[in-house]
Amino acid sequence: TVGAVACDVHGHVAAATSTGGVTGKRWGRIGDSPLIGAGTYADDRAGAVSCTGSGEFFIRANVAHEICARVRLAGETLEAAVETVLAEVTALGGTGGIIVAGPKGEALWRFSTPGMYRARLDSAGGREVAVFGDE
């Protein structure tokens, strides 16, 4: 699974996710990536979210929309919302990662696996590319 989230100079956010699913999937199994609100969501009032991981758990926790709803309705920061919702996925038995871009320039990732292919870049010149959890 791959994904991107961005905030542009106009303060608008967007999210995109693309995947092959899991090796050996059968019976038309679909994970969270194409499900709006589960693996992919974007709302200028909160942020843009793209997820990767054990899709069944990200669907059940409705991760991408839940993060945006916590920001919009409960006034949480994106960071707090991401950490809370990822902990819910973990409590259900799932693992994975989340990337988020906020309309105020917030940019963060969290993951509960040993590693995640990840990268970030911003207009101030900050650039980071990483693979392993300890980077």
Partner: protein, 169 residues
């Protein structure tokens, strides 16, 4: 006003013991190219929507990631691809599931958003929509890599049990 771009290429049991140096370096290079593609849009005051599509297209084309070319295979050995895109300005969204003949599923998802009254199209219908929309086609020969075929064979030899954590890349 500033801009930000963040990418992922999948999360999982990736440690220095399980990911080869070559795989890690190849993935890092592709992530860098995807950053550059998205940044080219954002630095020109372009839309976040165009930036995320541009970045994901780079990663779909790169064989190091489980998407597009290099995707994980179904039990039957087919690359069945899913993608979604969403615009925070108006919460417009497009998605496809189970498509088998489009080079960049993220661009097909965008076509669903822009040129259909629907949000999610799946399977043969989504493949037909892709042809109608003139999305760049891809054969299974393009999408399926030998390494992915080998991973599937390894799983099937081991009984083929569906394991939600059995995730390659």
């Amino acid at each position: 006003m500033s801009w930000t771009l963040i990418l992922h290429g999948g999360a999982g049991q990736m440690t220095r013991d399980t990911v080869s140096q070559a795989q890690a370096e190849g993935a890092r290079a592709a992530l860098g190219r995807a950053l550059d593609a998205g940044a080219a849009v954002l630095a020109a005051d372009g839309a976040a929507l165009d930036a995320v599509e541009a970045a994901v297209r780079v990663l779909e084309d790169d064989p190091h990631f489980n998407s597009g070319r290099g995707a994980a295979l179904t039990h039957a050995g087919v690359a069945e691809l899913d993608a979604a895109i969403m615009d925070g300005r108006n919460r417009n969204a497009g998605a496809v599931a189970g498509v088998t003949a489009t080079r960049n599923p993220v661009s097909l998802a965008r076509a669903v958003m822009a040129n259909s009254p629907h949000v999610l199209l799946s399977g043969a219908g989504a493949d037909a929509f892709s042809v109608e929309q003139g999305c760049e086609p891809a054969t299974q020969d393009w999408l399926v890599l030998p390494e992915r075929r080998a991973q599937l064979d390894e799983m099937l030899e081991g009984g083929g049990a569906f394991d939600v954590d059995m995730k390659y890349g």
